[in-house]
């Protein structure tokens, strides 16, 4: 009995091991996403957007001498254990030339630390927003197409100060998004600019009532509440209860709060004192091109991080083309394909890009999520604006510096 079971287990393992027969001629990139786990609802749209870029590359001539670009999907499950496992498989079993993903900051940090940095593979994440990624000792191999939470928090602080906001209270969701934004905001507003933050408190998501949190936040006498949360989730509840009970007069949100759910649920007439920061690039030509293409394959362009996922995959393809398909040169090439100088390339313009690269002309990718232009840390600065609620949805008040 014992040997039979052991033999069965061994047989299963052998069968699964044999099932992997790698194909040669294709150029592979790893698409690591949190397919299972806490962001399982968001991941499919992000993966589809990245696959759209792969599809466009193949339709317009492929990589190099017409080689096919293949996106190999791996499940990073939004945790370091599966993130490193998926990255190891992508790098060693599939032999990918670059990795798009993983989706969560913790998985990015672990996969970079134990797999891609030692192996010298370039990684570009569409949704890892943790400021810790900036400081990674990565030999220039870790990039991202989404701005660090640090940028937005600091820009928002400067803008509020400029607009003459006084005492503020800060409520933030207790995850890496909320914490990252709130800390950057605090560092700039209170420490650098000398503004006053009366209360600074984290909250857990998904509670029915935040009245006790709000009562606590209102204690310092601030008239403005800054909320770093999601407008279609807990942030909406907080905003509603703060309005109902009159705890604060003015409200400020981060990009997560700039959600249509807020207007639909609360009504524009109640939101005259509400402003939110969010990336511009909202209405660019590039975005329209992406939206059209993504709708064409049945995707929802408004899905969160769809644009950054697409840009990450497209940038990876451009860098691979520029580096001549060799993974050693991808890191340097990545900095060259989006640095603000050269012929503009927009989403889907693979053929044009390919010709320009072949001719040795400098190119500059202007993506669906923004112009990107990587800095030395592989971060994108992001351009933000402050928005208010007008009669027909959100309207820009001013750009943020």
């Amino acid at each position: 009995m014992k040997t039979k079971i052991l033999a069965l287990a061994a047989g299963l393992m052998a069968a699964t091991a044999l099932a992997s027969v790698p194909a040669q001629a294709d150029v592979k990139i790893g698409l690591l996403g949190g397919v299972s786990g806490p962001i399982a609802a968001m991941a499919p749209a992000m993966v589809d957007a990245a696959q759209l870029a792969v599809q466009q590359v193949n339709e317009q001539g492929g990589i190099g001498d017409g080689e096919k670009l293949v996106g190999v999907l791996g499940d990073s499950a939004c945790n370091p254990q599966n993130g490193t496992d998926a990255a190891t498989k992508a790098v060693n079993i599939e032999g990918v030339s670059g990795i798009v993903g993983p989706h969560c900051s913790g998985a990015v940090l672990a996969a970079a630390g134990s797999v891609t940095i030692p192996a010298g593979i370039v990684m570009i994440t569409p949704s890892g927003t943790s400021p810790e990624i900036t400081g990674l000792d990565d030999k220039g191999t870790v990039f991202r197409t989404v701005p660090s939470d640090d940028y937005q928090g600091r820009a928002l602080a400067r803008t509020l100060k400029e607009q003459g906001y006084g005492k503020v209270a800060v409520a933030y969701l207790n995850n890496d998004y909320g914490t990252g934004l709130a800390n950057a905001f605090k560092a700039e507003y209170a420490d650098a600019l000398g503004g006053e933050i009366t209360q600074f408190a984290a909250h857990e998501e998904g509670k029915a009532s935040y009245r006790s949190n709000l009562a606590e936040l209102a204690k310092g006498g601030a008239d403005t509440l800054v909320i770093f949360d999601y407008g279609d989730g807990t942030g909406l509840t907080i905003l509603r209860q703060a309005l109902e009970n009159g705890f604060f007069e003015k409200f400020v949100g981060g990009d997560g709060m700039k959600s249509d759910a807020v207007i639909n649920e609360l009504g524009a007439e109640n939101l005259v004192s509400f402003v939110a920061s969010s990336p511009v690039g909202e209405k660019s030509e590039s975005l329209d091109m992406f939206n059209e293409a993504f709708k064409g394959v049945g995707g929802d362009p408004d899905a969160i991080f769809a644009t950054t996922s697409y840009d990450a995959a497209f940038l990876m393809a451009l860098a691979l083309e520029k580096a001549g398909g060799k993974k050693e040169g991808v890191a340097a090439a990545m900095l060259e394909v989006s640095n603000g100088t050269g012929e503009a390339i927009r989403p889907g313009e693979w053929k044009k890009a390919k010709e320009l690269i072949a001719a040795g002309t400098a190119i500059d990718y202007k993506g669906a999520a923004g112009d990107h232009n990587f800095d030395a840390n592989g971060d994108v600065p992001g351009t933000y604006a402050l928005w208010e609620v007008g009669s027909s949805g959100y309207e820009v008040i001013m750009e943020m510096k």
Binding site: I5, M13, S20, V47, D75, P80, N92, G113, G135
Partner: protein
């Protein structure tokens, strides 16, 4: 190149198996020896990982430490911290039996996770701790994996030998007596509550060590790693499948489950492209199915606990052998 890739993957898998084997050994002390249903492995794993991270990273303004100590001190510290955390928890919760203890320990693990996520002065909050030194981490990719595997295996072997000794020692027999019949053990004058606490603390220390090895391997630890699915339930499946009460079974279970968990993704990737996303869910299904099959057809696990019956059997052979001479 192709072969090197396979070697790298095998090394990585072996390191993960060794780390999980440590967790499974820790759980074996608690469940296999003492019958304590601890469903809060992730909590002790996290305490160990963060303790070692704080002790061995360079100083940082935003949080406690770092103290920039040698990684060995970090690992010892991880075991001590996990044991220290386990002590009051055990003192309070071990009065519960079976299911109730499981519920309490899930709660405890969740409390630990939220404290780690929220207390920025202690752990840098949701951002986690990065730049944890990895022993022999600066040499090439393959070489550093080999070096780390050697270290992890050495730790695992030491842990295995020590736990195995305890299992065969009078202490191990006493623990099993308490597990199987608490009242009889009490009647024999054994201090049941103290012994239970002992097993709970020893097991927690090993889990803490596993957490520390994990953090140093990845050079980072974030609250996302304290996911009950991969840090608690996967370990349970390993022990149940390998055979609770058997240390070799715990290690074998870790190997089999992790290999199926990891390699099955390579297999499901061969499905047609349009099923790529759905294929990922099949893995979760496979693990559940495996647990069901094992519980139905082989509840004692692949390598069952060596019971007294086996010992008597072996003694009888030697005796009859002696008769012949």
């Amino acid at each position: 190149m192709e072969l090197l890739g396979l070697v790298n993957y095998a090394l990585f898998t072996a390191i993960f198996i060794a780390i999980y084997a440590l967790l499974a050994l820790g759980l074996n002390i608690q469940w296999g020896f003492a019958g304590l249903f601890n469903a809060g492995i992730a909590g002790f794993f996290a305490v160990g990982a963060y303790t070692s991270a704080v002790l061995s990273t360079p100083a940082d303004d935003g949080r406690l430490g770092g103290f920039d100590l040698h990684f060995v001190i970090g690992w010892i510290g991880a075991m001590l911290a996990a044991a220290l955390v386990a002590w009051p928890i055990g003192k309070i919760c071990l009065r519960f039996r079976s299911d109730y203890l499981a519920i309490a320990s899930i709660g405890v693990a969740e409390i630990i996770r939220l404290v780690i996520k929220s207390e920025e002065v202690l752990t840098n909050g949701a951002r986690g701790i990065n730049g944890i030194p990895r022993p022999a981490g600066d040499i090439g990719y393959t070489e550093s994996q080999i070096a780390y595997l050697v270290i992890v295996l050495a730790v695992l072997i030491v842990a295995y030998v020590l736990v195995e000794r305890q299992f065969n020692a009078p202490w191990g027999r006493m623990m099993r007596a308490i597990r199987d019949n608490e009242h009889a053990a009490k009647a024999m004058g054994k201090d049941v509550e103290f012994r239970r606490l002992e097993a709970f603390i020893f097991g927690a220390a090993l889990m803490g060590l596993g957490g520390a090895l994990f953090a140093h391997f990845n050079r980072s630890i974030t609250p996302e790693a304290i996911d009950p699915m991969v840090a608690t339930f996967l370990v349970w499946i390993m022990l149940i499948l390998g055979g609770s009460g058997n240390n070799r079974g715990a290690i074998l279970g870790a190997a089999v489950v992790w290999i199926i968990w990891s390699v099955s993704e390579i297999a499901t990737d061969r499905l047609p492209h349009e099923y790529a996303i759905q294929a990922k869910y099949i893995r979760l299904f496979l693990i559940g199915l495996m647990l069901q099959l094992v519980l139905r057809f082989r509840p004692e696990g692949l390598l069952p606990e060596p019971l007294r019956g086996d010992l008597r059997g072996s003694r009888r052979t030697t005796k009859s052998g002696a008769d012949h001479t």
